[in-house]
Amino acid sequence: MRRFTAALFLLGLGVMIAAIYQHMDFSNTAVNAGQAINAVAAEETGAANFVTSVVLAYRGIDTLLELTILFTAAMIGGMVLGRRRVDAPRDPDAGFILRTGADLLFPLLLVVGLYIILHGHLTPGGGFQGGVILASAFFLPLLARPGSSINQDVISIVEGLAGATFIIIGLLAMFDGKEFLTPLLDKGELGALISAGTLPILYLAVGIKVGSELAGLLAHLAEAEALD
């Protein structure tokens, strides 16, 4: 009976979507904030990658909030899963290939992650993508050796400081008489590594924060005791 009503509900939804289809105007881009941003972003922010301009400058507050969501989720994840019992059984170490691979990949992943973060204003990529790679660098050793662990206290302080950096850079703009989160510093030459003012610094903060938060969350999940 329940499945029947569910199927009926889905059918109704499908009909609704079909009706929306009929009336949708796919070529409708007469007014468009994105194209307007494309026209002025290079001049206003100095970043060659306009997606970065949107993420860090035009919609910087969204990014700050998104970091806060990750921060909160990681904090709650830690709270929910709790500390591990000391005598809880652990998985055995992984095989030779994974262990050696993890050791070899660790520096490589760090470099790639930092590269992607620092070039976020020039090429596709940035703090989120690079941060995820950083997180995987720290998580891989955990997969190889389940006995080892990440120091959660250090992580919570790092992520707090990285988030605070983002806000403090935003507040500095207010001391300058501008609005909160206004990009500062010289915009430099379009396309150069050191350009776009504070945006690369913000992306570095984002990268470190995303990296530490995801690493913390994954470590919490890995630490969770196996179900009996």
Binding site: R3, A6, A7, F9, L10, L13, G14, I17, Y21, Q22, M24, F26, T29, N32, A33, G34, Q35, I37, N38, A41, A42, A48, N49, F50, V51, S53, V54, V55, Y58, R59, D62, T63, E66, I69, L70, T72, A73, A74, I76, G77, V80, L81, L122, T123, P124, F128, L190, G191, V210, L214, L217, L218, H220, L221, A224, E225, L227
Partner: protein, 153 residues
């Protein structure tokens, strides 16, 4: 309406993903499946957002070597989807952590059983006996074992 229009195909993919996700949420009883249903639904919504100003043949909104492409894609939906994906990841991780704790406490991930046990716990704490639950499904141990087996397969 041309059925082979690229827009039709892409939008069908987005709405299709959403429908599959919603289907997973309303039909399934297993919490892990429901959580993945939410993930699929989110993926569909993200795709829909990305498609909102999609235009065939537009180049990425990045200036390479000072040359401005003739037609650049809208950067706003890309930034929005980036935000939405990260939010989704955070919530997914949180949901799985909670699922681990619920499984540990109640020994089941069947949505109906979790609800029943939750109801029991609340009533017990309040000091009232369970209301005669004619609407709740009768759960026996055999039943729940079958449910777990079904979900495991």
């Amino acid at each position: 309406m041309d059925i082979l229009d690229i827009n039709i195909i892409l939008y069908s993919a987005a709405f299709g993903l959403m429908l599959i996700g919603i289907g997973g949420i309303v039909i399934s009883n297993h919490l892990i499946r429901i959580i993945f249903g939410i993930a699929l639904l989110e993926a569909g919504a993200n795709l829909l957002l990305l498609l909102s100003t999609y235009h065939e043949g537009a180049s990425a909104p990045i200036i390479v070597d000072g040359s401005v492409p003739a037609m650049m894609a809208d950067p706003v939906p890309q930034a929005l989807v980036l935000t939405a994906i990260v939010i989704g990841v955070g919530i997914l991780a949180l949901a799985l952590s909670l699922a681990i704790r619920v499984q540990r406490a109640y020994g089941t991930l069947d949505m109906r059983e979790v609800r029943l046990k939750l109801e029991q716990e609340i009533s017990e704490n309040a000091g009232i006996e369970m209301p005669s639950s004619s609407h709740a499904p009768a759960v026996t141990t055999a039943n729940s074992a079958a449910a777990q087996q079904e979900s495991g397969s």
